[in-house]
Amino acid sequence: MSETPENLKYTESHEWIAEGDDGSVTIGITDHAQQELGDLVYIELPEVGKELKQEEICGVVESVKAASDIFSPLAGEITAINTELEDAPELVNRSPYQDGWLFKLKTSDSLDGLLSHNEYATKIQE
């Protein structure tokens, strides 16, 4: 069984979004996503300062056998990326919601259009 923390927002494409205090959001991939992909071996992230549109492909997570695009859940500017993942992509497998975060985004978009915990949990059970 996979975890879906209640305090997060989610997307159909299996990203999670955590709202910060300063108008920035932190983004990663869900526990369900990392379980489906299996052992991750390479992660490519966008550059800090890059402006992203909503649902723009901004990176890729690769497991031993498959590559999967990362979509930006919201429009905004990249303010930080998790540089630890360059040498330790397995952090996403071990800790998808904490140490395995992918990037931070400064956004003025509302989070209301994203999936709630319940909606996402229902979706992955289907």
Binding site: G38, V41, Y42, E44, E86
Partner: protein, 356 residues
């Protein structure tokens, strides 16, 4: 409904996938950990989905010398095996297989499960003329036991004559035990009656041997420099174009086998494509179908993956004939550099290539 092997109940804790119509374990937790277990310790694989065919008849040797690109005429001790391609008239690979000698009137063949129907149809088509009988042995299960610690860990489970086998030889008994494999490590492949397979599996687990899924099986075989049918070769590609020249017996020259004429023409013209092995020097992962650029033109990756042993990405690629030290590969929007090496990448737990 997916087909289930006799060991299906043993895979209840695995991530199961549809593998060519079979419900098979992809991994039992971590594909990478399983890979390392086989390189450093010992692992077992359920490979019961593979097709086992027994061939019998007075002219079976003559038949197989005609059917296969490698020469079974070299086999004369019981249980001795060779690896071979089975070709069409154009020299294209219908399948790759292992064939074991029992006597001049009986052989056993192990072919891929994905190609089973076309293989059997092809074999039957040509067997008629030689009055050779086929019997598919779907009453047998098959377990591969692979890794450097296999010998000490199976001591009390396999008979002494099996433990003493030389590579590519088999003991032909109720349990057919062959010293073969698909990982580049020491080990066995055991074919046994389906109802006895679960208890052997459980006994192997009790001897601290780890279950390994098809995910690790693929990275292990790629590191070992072994081809996978359907990705590294198919009917549009000859053994010469798949790095399998060593499996084609052009001598003796008077042996007529299916595909021989086409192969001779390819050899004479000497402009066929070739297979090369690559280590990616930059960060990223090589994948099947990515384009390769050389001085002599374009090619493509046939099998690409992350190599857990090297910690880098490796691949096989089919490119125009030439001598290469370096090629470039296009991965999404980047052009990256890959070093051409002589396979295998890894054999018996040791890295065999200079990956700097």
């Amino acid at each position: 409904m997916l087909k289930k092997t006799p060991l299906n109940n043993q895979h209840s804790n695995a991530k199961l996938v549809n593998f060519g119509g079979w419900e098979m374990p992809l991994h039992y937790g971590s594909q990478i950990e399983e890979h390392h277990k086989v390189r450093e310790d010992a692992g077992i694989f359920d490979v019961s989905h593979m097709t086992i065919i027994d061939l019998t008849g007075e002219k079976v040797t003559e038949f197989l010398r005609y059917l296969l690109a490698n020469d079974v005429g070299r086999l004369n001790t019981i249980g001795k095996a060779i690896y071979s391609c089975m070709l069409n008239e154009n020299g294209g690979v219908i399948d790759d297989l292992i064939v074991y000698y029992q006597s001049n009137e009986q052989f056993r063949m192990v072919v891929n499960s994905s190609t089973k129907n076309k293989d059997i149809a092809w074999i039957k088509l040509h067997a008629k003329r030689f009055a050779v009988q086929l019997k598919e042995r779907d009453d047998l299960a098959m377990i591969a036991i692979q890794g450097p610690k296999v010998m000490e860990k199976v001591k009390n489970l396999l008979p002494a004559n099996a433990l003493a086998l030389k590579p590519f030889h088999a003991v032909w008994d109720e349990w057919f035990i062959a010293r073969t494999g698909y990982t580049g490590e020491n080990g066995f492949e055991v074919m046994l009656p389906a109802n006895q397979a679960p208890s052997l599996w459980e006994n192997l687990l009790s001897n601290d041997i780890h279950p390994i899924g098809l995910g690790a099986r693929d990275t292990l075989r790629l590191e070992a420099g072994m081809n996978l049918y359907g990705t590294d070769m198919d009917e549009d590609c000859s053994p010469f174009e798949a790095g399998l020249s060593w499996t084609v017996a052009m001598n003796p020259q008077d042996r007529d086998f299916i595909g021989r004429k086409a192969l001779q023409t390819q050899k004479d013209l000497a402009n066929h494509r070739i297979m090369i092995a690559l280590v990616l020097q930059d960060k990223g992962i090589l994948r099947d179908h990515q384009p390769i650029y050389t001085n002599n033109g374009e090619g493509y990756i046939t099998s690409g993956s992350f190599s857990p042993t090297l910690g880098k990405s490796i691949a096989f690629a089919r490119v125009p004939m030439g001598k290469y030290e370096q090629v470039t590969v296009r991965i999404r929007n980047k052009t990256l550099s890959a070093k051409v090496i002589k396979p295998p990448f890894v054999r018996n737990g040791k890295i065999k290539v200079d990956v700097r």
